[in-house]
């Protein structure tokens, strides 16, 4: 069994025993993460880096709350680089890493 890439610790603390809430939030994340991924891919293909940054910005709080620590800094870099058009040459590979992790997380959450 591979190690979980996420931690529901924060959500559980907030829910204080209300598992329905935790499940609801997990389901929402499973549904929304691919949407964010699609948006970022489209943005990159259209060289709309600003929208790429905006999409990263939007998904950031849920990544933090879902305890996906490996993406904590990466999603912020993506947000800033996209917004400011810096390190443009590094963006595609960074985005690939982020997408891979997100997909893995979604997979793990599905099999939870």
């Amino acid at each position: 069994m591979e190690e979980n890439l996420y931690s529901l610790h924060q959500l559980e603390a907030l829910a204080s025993g209300d598992t329905a809430f935790v499940n609801k939030m997990v389901d929402m994340f499973i549904q929304m993460a691919p949407e964010s991924v699609d948006r970022m891919i489209t943005a990159l293909s259209e060289d709309d880096l600003e929208d790429l940054g905006a999409a990263a910005h939007k998904v950031k709080p849920s990544i933090d709350m879902m305890g996906i620590t490996s993406l904590k800094q990466k999603i912020r870099d993506l947000e800033q680089w996209g917004k400011n058009r810096t390190n443009v040459e590094l963006i595609p590979s960074l985005l690939d890493e982020v997408i891979e992790t997100l997909n893995d997380v979604v997979q793990q959450l599905r099999n939870r």
Binding site: L14, M28, H57, K58, P61, M65
Partner: protein, 453 residues
Amino acid sequence: MADEFKIFIVEDDVWYGEVIEYHLSLNPDVTVKKFTNGKDFLKCLDEQPSLVTLDYSLPDISGEEVLKRIKEYSPETPVVIISGQEDIGTAISLLKDGAYDYIIKDDETKDRIWNVIKNIREKEELKEEISQLKTQIVQKYDFSKSIIGNSSPMKRIFSLIQKAIGSNITVSITGETGTGKEVVAKAIHYNSARAKKPFVAVNITAIPSELMESEMFGHEKGAFTGAIARRIGKFEEATGGTIFLDEIGEMDINMQSKLLRVLQEKELTRVGGTGVIKLNSRILVATHKDLAEEVRKGNFREDLYYRLLGLPISLPALRERGNDILLLAKHFIDEYCKENEMGKLTVSPSAQNKLLKYPWPGNIRELKAVVELSCVMTDSNTIDDEHITFNSSGSIDTLLQAEMPLREYTNRIVKYYLDKYNQDVVTVAKKLNIGKSTIYRMLQEETVSLTNN
């Protein structure tokens, strides 16, 4: 607890909006409504939320624009900006535009929102309390209740007060001590258009003359030794409201010229300051002195006198108010009984007579003290004449104001000395420089009598 606390969450990130909503809904007093874009939210502004949390980056309208629209619609609604990133420049400009707080989305966001809610609720409760207290004061000084009297001199006073209420004119109130000058001043203020703004009373005699200027006009930090901080003066404190200068006749002549300048220029400068502050306070003054007489004597500046005269209201002495004495006595007795949770007290005819005959040198203030004492002295539910004692400072004026026949005066004086000197006729005759036989004759005619100890 106050009414339900309605929070509008404007957050385009559905996932995060859900988290905030869940967190805030844990408190049963809170109802939450979510919006994912600016347009939908702005349509519901008329539902008057108690708090709005606003995501700075919305898909349709910028956070700044939404904030502006909220503030236009209802400036009082607190708006907390919740932003994904720290941007001090944006934060400052939003706070300047009226945002209540600026919170970053991170682990502590939830606790910060709670703090904000707690503060806002406290603030709302305080506001509520203040407005209640203000209404209470206004009711208290509804002058048909605060000023009691049916006598013709008082009817004239009422019509003058009514005129003073309807305008902004300076009013000068004169009258003997205890006639209710401050009550009249408050009645004017709390029934005027300025009622919701401060009423600031300054007793000129209570302030040492060296401190007067800074008390009245304020001072800047470092204006003089000991001025460790800026201080707002009474005139500024009364901005939009009324300043009441009591015992204006006692004002030091130097201060009089400073006051005159301020009244002429309609602006003032704090001591040690350079900035000019516009004067916007209504002025009421009072004195027990005859100011015109003080002007003649050179104690009061003539120009200031005319400037302050405005609408003169001269309060009658209590002894000139006939039956008002009984009305007031009844009022004070009822008030005292209510405050001390006693049953109702009535005043016997002989006690009423005693009250009516007394000259009341201390006027209403003295009447209040006398009747309150009588409430304490009586053991039944009736106040009789024996319960009424006048302990006025006993000036000769008081005695003269009683207007008794000379013979009666003589009797009283002799009786007073006999009591004082232990019924010793010889000593009393010596003190008063009259013959012993005079006293004996009075004793014989029973106009005075010896009290056996």
